[in-house]
């Protein structure tokens, strides 16, 4: 699974940058066509749901998605499923 922000929905409130335990979302700087600075993703493959959703067969964590007031955060299937080497600092 791959984390993605829907550019047509995000309003750039940056709440996602505050809630992710891995700090995957970083405040964006470049404005898009709608004048919104989309957050940037810092090594999104560290996300618990990206790594373990397939293994557990259910949604994990998901705090960013529930928090995002604009329904802009979701996961997309990777085809074919790519294996990632993931380093996680605790």
């Amino acid at each position: 699974m791959k984390l993605a922000i829907d550019e047509t929905r995000c309003k750039g409130c940056n709440l996602c940058t505050k809630v992710c335990p891995y700090k995957i979302f970083k405040e964006g700087k470049r404005l898009n066509r709608k004048g919104v600075a989309l957050p940037e993703l810092d090594r999104p493959e560290r996300c618990a749901n990206c790594r373990l959703q397939k293994l557990y067969g259910r949604q994990l964590c998901g705090v960013c998605q529930l928090t995002c007031p604009d329904q802009a955060i979701h996961w997309i299937e990777e085809e074919p499923y790519e294996l990632h080497k993931v380093a996680i600092e605790y």
Binding site: T8, R9, K11, G12, C13, N14, L15, T17, K18, V19, V36, Q59, V63, Q65, L66, T67, C68, P69, D70, Q71, A72, H74
Partner: protein, 262 residues
């Protein structure tokens, strides 16, 4: 299946301002509903007037966007006419506690089988930031330019005193807890009331020194006191700071209820 399937995708993005907490609360509510095995055809959302009350318009089920303050009155009608329906009300602090205050307390008294989710942004967001019955003391709004001098309602205490079977309070920071509380509310027969404190950056935050949306969410987090901890503090005769919001499950009981499917 995921809770995203309950959204009317063609109506998104919604009209709420950037950082408005209403969207977060709809997410948490739909995530709870998704776990209920309810059919969309058997679920009805009802709301009054206000930014918060626009929520049902973004949900796939049948819904009623009614008149200001009357969401619970309409919902009572829907539930009594057809107790097979699952009826969920979205309302705001102004909608429910000001103009709709009587409908609210009497629905609690009747203990009618509804789940009411109040998006409490402590302001009339839609009409430009007038003070509401939940605007905290000292806060600025367009009708309290020198700081609100009145004591606000504690909506959860009000619901409890009036007779609701289930009452809990969380904030837009506590998304997982809010989701669980809504689920318990949906499962509980009788009147369930969930207060979700939330940020309105446009009408409230701007006037009250929350420069960033996240500053307000952080304030809600740091000013939340778990009910269990509050109870322990009371036992130890400790002082409870006045500006704290008590969060958690406030009330759960089994008073006789109305409109429950036999």
């Amino acid at each position: 299946m995921s809770y995203e399937d309950w959204y009317r995708q063609d109506r998104l993005p919604h009209i709420f301002c950037a950082g408005c907490g209403n969207g977060t609360i709809i997410n948490c509510t739909l995530a709870a509903i998704e776990q209920m095995d309810w059919k969309k055809e058997e679920t009805v959302f009802v709301s009054g007037i206000g930014c918060s009350s626009r929520a049902p318009g973004y949900i796939l089920t049948d819904s009623l966007h009614t008149t200001h303050g009357r969401a619970i009155a309409f919902a009572t009608g829907v539930k009594m006419a057809n107790p097979d329906l699952h009826v969920v009300v979205f309302t705001g602090d102004g909608d429910m506690a000001a103009i709709g205050g009587n409908h609210f307390i009497h629905a609690c008294r009747r203990n009618i089988d509804l789940t009411v989710i109040c998006m409490n942004n402590q302001i009339y967001g839609m009409t430009g930031g007038q003070g509401s019955p939940t605007t905290p003391k000292g806060c600025l709004s367009s009708t309290t330019p020198f700081g609100c001098a009145e004591t606000p309602f504690d909506l959860c205490e009000l619901a409890t005193a009036a007779g609701a079977n289930y009452v809990s309070r969380w904030t837009s920071y506590h998304v997982k807890e809010l989701e669980k509380a809504v689920k318990v509310g949906l499962e509980t027969p009788g009147f369930s009331f969930i207060e979700a404190l939330t940020q309105c950056p446009t009408a409230f935050g701007r006037r009250n020194k929350f420069r960033q949306v996240s500053d307000h969410v952080e304030y809600l987090r740091s000013h939340s006191l778990l009910k269990a901890k509050r109870d322990r503090m009371l036992e130890n005769h400790e002082q409870i700071p006045e500006d704290m919001y008590i969060v958690g499950e406030i009330t759960r009981r089994k008073r006789p209820a109305m409109g429950v499917k036999p």
